[in-house]
């Protein structure tokens, strides 16, 4: 089976439907039509550009270009994690926490998978590296954003309770412990749910793509299993890193709760 190429006309049918949804949102006064259209245009532009970039990247296979694109993706993911926070850390830490934890989780896991699981030669072969990194970044990003948002929100709301514990001589670690655990749980639940629903309720994107491209379904399933498991680990590690860094940053060296560090 060969892939049927999509023409711009085919895409414009899908785009027309999005316009329809925007009109509906306007009619029902949901107030999301602007954001919907901006996000839709962003995805059209970004994915087209990515397609063009990947085409040159695959032709050249230059490690520096691949590295640069990876770092760019990482930076964007860090920015997205920050943008999804209602109360974000001010200054460097706003983006730093997300980017750093994403680096720890997604980068290390992608490298691990490429070297030990898929074993491509060389390991930076862009056909493998870029899609896997993208899948990991994109999926761990939301879990981490949820966990971090949960932490900062609940610290804000439960300021009194945290300080009550500090007043009684508890360490910062004890005082924020419950909140940290709850934040981590909230970040991990989506990936746990999507693992449980995989193949029964949802047909995950990667597998769908491979099947459309003509891979045997069982091969596609194996890749999907690997990616799902890696995403789960990446989300867990990333959320632990982000929430730990965030909780640490909420206190100063005299173990005072410093909510003024949030915006």
């Amino acid at each position: 089976m060969n892939l049927i190429p999509l023409t711009p006309l085919d895409l414009s049918i899908a785009a027309l439907l999005v316009f329809g949804l925007a009109a509906l949102s306007w009619r029902m006064r949901l107030g999301v039509e602007r954001r919907l259209l901006v996000a839709a245009s962003r995805s059209v532009i970004q994915l087209t550009l990515l397609g063009l970039v990947l085409k040159t990247l695959f032709d050249q296979s230059n490690p520096f270009l691949i590295g640069a694109l990876s770092l760019f993706m990482l930076g964007m993911a860090g920015y997205e994690v920050m943008a999804r926070q209602e109360r974000r850390f001010s200054g460097f830490w706003g983006m730093g926490i997300g980017t750093l934890s994403m680096f720890i989780s997604s980068f290390s896991i992608t490298l691990l998978a490429l070297n030990l699981v898929v074993r491509v030669e060389p390991w930076y072969t862009p056909q493998y590296l870029i899609p896997m990194l993208g899948m990991l970044l994109g999926n761990t990003m939301s879990g981490m954003a949820i966990a971090l948002d949960n932490l900062t929100q609940s610290a804000w709301q439960q300021r009194g309770a945290i300080e009550a514990r500090l007043m009684l001589g508890h360490t910062w670690d004890q005082a924020i412990g419950d909140l940290r655990r709850r934040a981590l749980r909230s970040g991990l639940i989506p990936i746990i749910n999507s693992m449980a629903a995989a193949g029964v309720v949802s047909l995950p994107g990667m597998m769908t793509g491979q099947i459309l491209a003509g891979s045997p379904p069982l091969e596609a399933a194996k890749y999907q299993i690997m990616i799902l498991l890696l995403i789960a680990v990446g989300t867990g590690l990333g959320a632990i890193a982000a929430v730990s860094l965030g909780a640490f940053r909420l206190f100063d060296k005299r173990q005072r709760l410093r909510l003024d560090r949030l915006k």
Partner: protein, 198 residues
């Protein structure tokens, strides 16, 4: 040597303060709301950034690990906060005599925090603080939500505690009569300064 001492201690909204309190003594503090009384107590407990130094006995604030310092400088804030469901979960251990003196029994500790009245909460918050045996009590209107009988009980209990444990207290109160009853000395806050109350 003074038991508790503030040296050029500057918290938000106030001029630098020099103050010393002897063991067993209680100093009262009054002033219009928003003048920085509560912020001063918070700074002494090292919950807010501040300048200057505080000492309890031989402990110097800036050189004591914060949890250790806060165990010695017990702060009772005007509104108490609880992080678990049952009262018992907030206490490392209990003390029946102290509990009885505040009008509770051991069974009360199984109660749920959400069902307590504000007065009960306030008295239990005092209990929660006192079983840690702090050497300095920072009291922010500890009887604000209490009726006269309970308030008298709390006053006596705190005075008794100061005497038996040789601790010092800084007591914020809006009630001039109460300040007379409990304080050995008193200060008013006027335009950011501590002025002796006569």
């Amino acid at each position: 040597m003074a038991y508790f001492q503030l040296i050029q201690f500057k918290s938000r909204g106030l001029e630098p303060i020099d103050l010393s309190i002897d063991a067993g003594q209680c100093v009262t503090l009054a002033g219009p709301s928003g003048c920085g009384k509560s912020l001063l107590l918070r700074a002494i407990a090292d919950l807010d950034p501040h300048e200057g130094e505080a000492c309890i006995e031989h402990c110097v604030q800036s050189q004591t690990p914060p949890p250790e310092w806060r165990r010695q400088a017990g702060l009772l804030s005007a509104e108490s906060h609880w992080w678990a469901d049952k009262i018992r979960d907030h206490l490392p251990h209990s003390n029946s005599d102290l509990l009885a003196a505040l009008g509770f029994s051991e069974e009360s500790l199984a109660w749920e925090v959400s069902r307590l009245s504000s007065g009960e909460r306030q008295r239990l918050a005092l209990f929660r603080m006192l079983i840690g045996k702090p050497k300095l009590l920072l009291l922010d209107e500890p009887t604000a939500n209490l009726d006269q009988v309970s308030a008298g009980r709390v006053e006596n209990l705190i005075k008794e505690y100061l005497k038996t444990s040789d601790s010092a207290a800084l007591w914020v109160s809006h009630d001039p009569k109460q300040r007379k009853r409990v304080g050995d000395r008193g200060f008013q806050i006027e335009s950011g300064r501590l002025v002796p109350e006569l």
